[in-house]
């Protein structure tokens, strides 16, 4: 097997760029087992020599602070890569070496890629790589990952280490007069009882106990509770002492000493600053404008609107192509296949289902491309910075805004890419609350439902109502987020402390890889599940078929119509099946009558199907919100995709399947129907806004949250919430006689 090399480094150190540069197209994206952290692997090939490269998540430290850090640490310990390449930002050396020191403390074989030396040089920072290498005792190679410079030398020194593994002695730093004696004592105890030492170095275990590392302590508690408690007691004593004498904590002391060690190394002629370190660079001058108190928010609005416009207007054309392709495929197969169940399954079940999934692909690609630009350039971090104060009120994070916008914060988005956009959020609780609430935004598929109801009942106030619907969605999403954050996703706000990376020009290669891998994951994972589910939904709306006696009844009605009409008219109509023929008015009338019978049959069939029975059975409950079985069934269908609500309502009202874009006749029917009122329409609009996300979204929520539990939660919770709101509106409205006919 090819030796494994792990890439590690701080976020924004150019790690991903280096990974792309090393592996090119030989890469594969998956997840670390059991968690949603992305795992990227690839192969580096040179002169027939192959190296397996794993890109570890970007971290600042190796504590068990975040999921990323736990994942990175577990990988290093369990998979034991032959060598770790630690990418450090040369223009930010002091802070970046903090991670390197922790690798050395762990006794992991590393070499350093001193990256972005061009940026450092421009900033007047000169780094003596050789000096650094000899002081740390590991190879240090200057690189410029963006241009592929230093790649060969770096891989030479990495494979050198991989080929000649020698036992590395973990770095021993002095952590001060208070910690050092305890540390040695603990180390001795650990060695004496072989406590976890088959996986970790003794001194490192002791260090982690002093740092109150939850992961290691819980492992220790399991392995040897006695010793673990003894160690904890020793830590408690030294903590008390430090608190009394120096008003500090062991973990703080250790961190201070690490930085002190780094300073002492850098002082020995490793680094030379030509200018004041904190002088302003072009990036800071850009920030003076982009995060300015007054202009900043305006520019942000423009950028967000621009991204939105870019994604949704440019995706229209390819989405149209795909729709036409699947339409063509459906009608071609309809013509070829014999009528019957198989045809219905393939055309209505499979092609519509798969088409529905693939129809999102151009949208997702463009959205990820746009977000990748904002992310890679560093602007996204500024958006989080500017909006954090507002989102924090609702238990969210400044970065949540992107997901909300994409999902339809400006009406017409889509929750699927919205849910996936939450990946840019690093705080787990805030991220979960965001991805559970983005489906409340008004996605493009809900708009035809709103358009139908508004046109029918509030034609005069179209713009006002649309605006209220948008506001309502935001208010609902934020309030529910707050509710979730004080109940099921309770917990302290994740620390906001983050870096504002300097603005950088994104590389096209990076953007392309970013976009493609995420899109492909969507197609692959979501595609298979959705195919199965769309077949199930199709079956629910098809089976059981009408009993033969009913079908014969409709057939008899048809024959009656045909036999009553003159022979010539019937012939003309038959001819029209095969070619464009101008129908006489009588033939047109006959056709309309026949279509009416077909539609009545479809309505009866739908009523008789499982979905129809569910709709009927739900009437007992749904009547509180004023929904009859027809509305229920349409809402059940809306679980497949929200635009189906309109077409299913059409079938239920015996109009045949209604094109969501042209729902004029359905609108007239609803306006005439005595069961409908503007009040009911308001209830239905609210219900549609808040009820269960469509199943593509549910699958994405499950995947992104790492558990089907959350997908199920979104379905149940949202539907209950929507129903309660709809009932309140209907009951209060009816009681006070508001908006009734």
């Amino acid at each position: 097997m090819a030796p494994t090399i792990a890439l590690a480094g701080n976020p924004n150190s150019g790690k991903t760029t280096l990974f792309n540069e090393l592996t090119g197209s030989h890469q594969h994206v998956g997840n670390y087992p059991g968690v949603t952290v992305e795992k990227k692997e690839g192969t580096y090939v040179r002169d027939g020599f192959r190296l397996h490269i794993v890109d570890l998540p970007g971290t600042y430290s190796l504590t068990a602070y975040s999921l990323e850090e736990v994942v990175a640490r577990d990988f290093l310990v369990n998979q034991k890569p032959e060598v770790v390449i630690n990418i450090v930002d040369a223009s930010n050396l002091e802070r970046n070496l903090y991670l390197a020191i922790q690798f050395l403390e762990m006794g992991i074989p590393i070499c350093i890629a001193l990256n972005m030396i061009d940026v450092a040089k421009k900033r007047g920072i000169k780094v003596n790589a050789q000096k650094l290498s000899s002081l740390l005792g590991i190879p240090v190679t200057p690189t410029i990952a963006r241009l592929g410079k230093g790649k060969k030398e770096l891989m030479d020194s990495a494979s050198q280490i991989a080929r000649e593994p020698n036992q590395l002695i973990p770095l021993k730093i002095s952590y001060g007069a208070d910690i050092d004696p305890v540390l040695s004592e603990m180390e001795k105890e650990i060695l004496d009882s072989d406590f976890l030492t088959d996986t970790y170095q003794a001194r490192w275990i002791a260090l982690k106990y002093l740092e109150s590392d939850e992961q290691i302590i819980s492992k220790g508690q399991e392995a040897n509770p006695d010793l673990s408690n003894r160690l904890k007691e020793m830590v408690r004593k030294v903590s008390q002492h430090l608190l009394n004498t120096l008003d500090t904590y062991p973990e703080a002391m250790i961190a201070d000493q690490r930085y002190g060690y780094i300073k002492s190394i850098l002082k020995q002629g490793v680094i030379h600053h030509k200018y004041d370190r904190n002088r302003l660079y072009s990036s800071d001058r850009i920030d003076k404008v982009l995060t300015n108190r007054f202009i900043g928010p305006l520019i942000m609005l423009a950028v967000i609107a621009g991204l939105y416009d870019f994604t949704f207007s440019y995706s229209k054309v390819p989405v149209g192509w795909l729709e036409r392709f699947f339409g063509w495929l459906g009608s071609t197969l309809s013509a070829v296949l014999p009528a019957g169940m198989v045809k219905s399954l393939i055309v209505s079940g499979i092609i519509d289902g798969v088409g529905g999934v693939l129809g999102f692909v151009p949208l997702i690609m463009l959205m990820f491309f746009g977000i990748a630009i904002l992310e890679d350039s560093g602007y996204l971090a500024r958006v989080a910075f500017m909006l954090d104060r507002i989102f924090r009120i609702f238990g969210l994070h400044g970065s949540s805004v992107m997901a909300f916008i994409v999902s339809g914060g400006i009406a017409g988005g889509c929750a699927v890419p919205g849910v996936m956009a939450t990946r840019t959020l690093k705080s787990p609780r805030e991220r979960l609350a965001t991805l559970l609430t983005v489906p409340f935004m008004n996605c493009g598929a809900k708009l035809p439902v709103f358009a139908l109801l508004i046109a029918t009942f509030f034609a005069k106030y179209e713009a006002v109502i649309m605006f209220l619907i948008t506001l309502g969605a935001w208010a609902g999403a934020l309030l529910v987020a707050k509710l979730l954050r004080v109940t099921v996703i309770k917990g302290e706000a994740t620390p906001f402390v983050m870096e504002l990376p300097p603005y950088r020009m994104p590389t096209f290669k990076g953007l392309a890889i970013h976009t493609w891998e995420r899109t492909w994951q969507y197609i692959k994972k979501a595609g298979t599940v959705i195919l199965g589910l769309s077949v199930v939904l199709w079956a629910m709306m098809t089976f059981p078929g009408l009993p033969d006696s009913k079908i014969q009844e409709f057939e008899k009605q048809r024959q009656e119509q045909i036999s009553r009409a003159p022979q010539a008219v019937v012939q003309q109509l038959q001819a029209a099946d095969h070619a464009e023929v101008q129908l006489s008015s009588e033939a047109g009338k006959l056709r309309a009558n026949l279509q009416q019978i077909d539609a009545a049959e479809a309505e009866a069939g739908l009523r008789y199907s499982i979905a129809g029975r569910i709709g009927g059975a739900l009437e007992g409950v749904s009547k509180w919100a004023g929904f009859d079985w027809k509305t229920n069934i349409a809402l059940v269908g809306g679980f497949a995709a929200k635009e189906v609500v309109v077409s299913t309502l059409g079938t239920a009202y015996s109009l045949g399947a209604v094109d969501p874009e042209e729902s004029g006749s359905l609108s007239e029917t609803l306006a005439r129907d005595p069961g409908w009122s503007p009040l009911l329409a308001v209830g239905l609009i609210v219900f549609t806004m808040f009820y269960s996300p469509c199943f593509v979204s549910v699958i994405c929520i499950s995947r992104e949250s790492g558990s089907w539990k959350w997908g199920a939660f979104a379905m149940v919770f949202n539907t209950v919430l929507a129903f309660v709101l709809a009932v309140l509106i209907f009951q209060i409205g009816s009681a006070f006689g508001i908006l009734v006919k």
Binding site: N92, Y98, A255, D287, T291, R293, R389, T494, M498
Partner: protein, 76 residues
């Protein structure tokens, strides 16, 4: 003079004197290079005056005001 990081004004410089918080937040703050002895300068604040942006060892970090509360800074 020692003041709280929250009370520093834009462009004011100082040296971190103490960070009085343990646990996740404390660890996170230290991981980013904020330890006693580090020189900082306030770069600016978000439009709603929170979070605050700092210049630390040539990089820009941001933290919320309620997180900055734990950091005391020695200023001239």
């Amino acid at each position: 003079m020692r003041i709280n990081l929250r009370n520093m004004h834009d462009n004011q410089e100082g040296t971190i004197a103490s960070i009085k918080v343990a646990g996740e937040l404390g660890r996170r703050i230290r991981d980013m290079g904020l330890v006693p002895g580090t020189e900082i300068r306030i770069q600016g604040r978000a439009p709603l005056y929170d979070p605050v942006a700092l210049r630390v060892m040539g990089a820009t970090l941001t933290l919320r005001n309620n997180e900055a509360d734990y950091i005391e800074v020695e200023v001239e």
